[in-house]
Amino acid sequence: MSTLHLINRSPFSTSILQELADAVSEGDHVLLIEDGVYAASGTTSRVLPEDIELWALEEDCTSRGVTPTSDTVGTLGMAGFVALTASTDRTVSWF
């Protein structure tokens, strides 16, 4: 069963990414939205296992001036967000 994990909190105010790293399974996706996109640039997101697909919502990156690290973080629009919730079995929000 594949899970989409939604993160809307900044990595600078919570340790959710570290907690999530212990909870994800192979085939899961992680989508950074809202202030969560601050984890899309730099090395913050490297705590996640490499077989996890990591995404950032493009409009939230744009509104915050965040440029995702392109080799580890994919970007998605709202249509891509919808498609991910449909292609995974369930969505879990971490906050």
Binding site: R9, E34, A86, S93
Partner: protein, 135 residues
Amino acid sequence: MVSQGLTYALMVQGAPYSQQASHSALRFAEALPAQGHRVATVFFYHDGVYNAASMMSPPRDEPHLLERWRALHQTQHCELLVCVASAVRRGLLDEGEARRHGHPHPTLEAPFELTGLGQLMQAAFQHDRLITFAP
């Protein structure tokens, strides 16, 4: 890969105009029909219940969230359910609750409905996906 025609339940826990949850949920819901899906239930919980404040009067050059929810109800025929326990203690009362608590005017009106957590459970079981928009 993508299954077609799913029904969604959205839970909104963020307060309007202080957190992004309402905007994220609305934009997500409005993007569903393009892929053949629809939102069937929106459940407002905790500070999210303020999204249903019927006297919400934002400046005219800002998004009117109440109107956006009403429009969503009209276009996707979704129910707009508000947790009664979260709402009443925050002063969001429909006509019945306003009367019961001795207030002259309701502060919550249709298409929003006061409901219990049972309806959230029902929506979670009934629909294909439940997405939480956190505060």
